[in-house]
């Protein structure tokens, strides 16, 4: 799915956790504090360096040659227009739904640059549907995302359509082929 959303990143959240925790532990005797959720809405991600995924989420690789990066990180190249929880963090993978969910047959399409071969690929952001929100690795990127009046290029629509349940669980980024107009 594709609600506009907050990015949570391991590096920054770790900083937040450690900072606040240490600070508070010295301030409030006997009070334990933890940061359950530190949402991030970057105003300008362009200036950032590579990120390192989400806190409490193990890194992955796709296992494919020529497919660099970590599918549990919002910065993974296929996710250039994704909006939702990453299925790779939810028991599925970048291309597969978690057990017990159903992959939406229709969806919206993005075009993402693979830094390994410099090619633009067509990515289909199929939603996985039928269980409640996964809640891990919420990621929103909007390269070439268009408003809702062009649905096929919009990531704010719940694409759990044509599935037995329209309840959104998480999002994949499935490679359809090389973009021809590049």
């Amino acid at each position: 799915m594709k609600f506009l959303e907050k990015l949570i990143e391991k590096s920054s959240r770790k900083v937040a956790q450690n900072t606040s925790r240490r600070h508070l532990l010295t301030q409030l005797s006997k009070v334990m504090i933890g940061v359950a959720a530190v949402p991030l809405l970057p105003v300008a991600r362009a200036s950032e360096g590579p990120t390192n995924g989400y806190p409490g989420v193990g890194k992955q690789t796709s296992g494919l040659d020529g497919d660099p990066g970590d599918p549990t990180s919002c910065d993974y190249w296929r996710y250039c227009a994704i909006d939702g929880f990453l299925c790779s963090c939810c028991g599925g993978s970048a291309t597969s739904c978690p057990p017990g969910t159903e992959m939406s047959p229709i969806t919206w399409i993005g075009t993402c640059l693979n830094p390994a071969d410099g090619k633009n690929y067509i990515i289909s952001y199929n939603d996985c549907c039928g269980k409640t929100s996964c809640g891990r690795c919420l990621c929103n990127r909007n390269e070439n995302d268009k408003p809702m009046y062009r649905p096929q290029a919009n990531n704010d629509i719940n694409w759990c359509l044509g599935t037995s349940s329209s309840v959104y669980t998480c999002s994949t980024g499935v490679l359809l082929g090389v973009a021809v107009d590049e």
């Binding site: 105003v43 070439n144 704010d156 349940s165």
Partner: protein, 384 residues
């Protein structure tokens, strides 16, 4: 008797009572349930928590953004990418929502839930027979009241798009109007609406008391969806809808007549600001006040894909002169904003931490309000 004296007297009375009968706090009644006024004060807003972490459990909270105590007035549920609109005339709240018989599975039921504003109890639900309610990240333009609140228009999306017309008096569905190739509901004319289309055009219809289309206009493509699309979330000032583009153009459209009229476009940015890539963005990132000013969340160094990340400033424009009249530097970056319709209007910012920062319209910070510990109040509706 002035207040202070009154306090002293009652304190003395309490003290003497205490001496006499060993005063105790009195037993309190059970059950007790709070009610709200039928007409809400104009500093109350509706904060729609889309609750992405549990979409089946969203809500719309009612909040007095001018209050430092008892600011949270109550809420209604709003399940699964719901749509919301307030009726001033009928003192009702409308929520378009979706349920499954087993939470996330089983039989689907799409409904329009109707609440009494005073009790926040559901007075009626209208079941959508085709269960085709559009589910999108909640937007004001998924549901609108038109023709002096005579009709409620509710978006359907399967992904074929149409508009369900409900008579607010009989509380019954009277028709469904297809809008192929177009999407969303922008009130237009006396009894109709317009929709933006995938080709960069606009479709508009007027319907009669049976919900049947009596006037239809198709306006050809007037902007490039590929190069610089208009955001689908305009701001209405009177009957003019101010659409803004990713790259800071403003396209006002006069929606007062059956046929929408494109008004001259202008820009939110100077040439210099354009070079710095100042752009509008966020979710419901723009609003207006009762002085016809346009408030827009802006971010610097915009780029392809930055249009939904919010911004660090709110720029305020005179919509007649097209001049920027204020530039508000926010305490916390904004994602969505709203301006109350109150005499002393307040600027309410859903910041990127998903709590509400309240400012004067001059940008003076007033207070922060938490909608809930896990809320994502991404759509703010000022009271009508």
């Amino acid at each position: 008797m002035n207040n202070r004296l009154l306090k002293i007297v009652s304190a003395l009375a309490f003290a003497s009572l205490s001496l006499l009968v060993n005063a105790e706090l009195k037993p309190e009644p059970i059950p007790s349930v709070t009610q709200l006024p039928a007409d809400y004060p104009d500093s109350w807003i509706f904060a729609h928590d889309a609750n992405f972490h549990a979409l089946i459990s969203g809500k719309v909270a009612i909040i007095d953004v001018a209050a430092d105590t008892n600011e949270y007035k109550g809420f209604v549920d709003a399940a699964m990418m719901a749509s919301f609109v307030e009726s001033e005339k009928r003192s009702k709240l409308y929520v378009g929502e979706t349920f499954y018989s087993r939470g996330t599975q089983g039989d689907k039921t799409d409904v329009l839930s109707i609440y009494d504003k005073s009790t926040l109890l559901k007075t009626k639900e209208i079941i959508l027979p085709k269960a085709n309610r559009g589910q999108m990240v909640s937007s004001k333009y998924m549901m609108q009241l038109v023709n002096d609140e005579k009709y409620l228009l509710l978006l359907a999306f399967t992904p074929a798009s149409s508009v369900i017309v409900i008579d607010t008096k009989t509380e019954e569905i009277i028709s469904e109007i297809p809008i192929p190739g177009c999407n969303l509901i922008y009130p237009a004319g006396k009894s109709g609406f317009a929709s933006l289309c995938g080709n960069g055009g606009l479709k508009s219809v007027q319907f009669d008391e049976k919900g049947e289309v009596i006037v239809r206009y198709d306006i050809d493509s007037f902007f490039s969806v590929d190069d610089d699309p208009l955001f689908d979330k305009p701001v209405y000032i009177g009957s003019t809808a101010y659409f803004m583009s990713y790259k800071s153009r403003v396209q006002p459209i006069d929606m007062s007549k059956d046929r929408p009229i494109l008004l001259p476009a202008w820009s939110l940015v100077t040439d210099e600001e354009m070079k710095e890539n100042w752009r509008p963005g966020g979710w419901h990132f723009a609003a207006s006040d009762n002085k016809r000013l346009l408030y827009v969340v802006m971010h610097k160094n915009g780029y392809n894909g930055s249009h939904k990340f919010g911004g660090e400033e709110v720029w305020v424009f005179n919509t007649t002169t097209h001049k920027r009249v204020k530039r508000i530097i926010l305490k916390n970056n904004a994602f969505s904003i709203e301006v109350t319709k109150s005499k002393t209007p307040l600027l309410v910012v859903n910041n990127v931490s998903m709590t509400l920062d309240v400012y004067s319209v001059d940008g003076e910070f007033q207070r922060n309000i938490t909608v809930s510990d896990t809320a994502m109040p991404i759509v703010l509706h000022s009271g009508k």
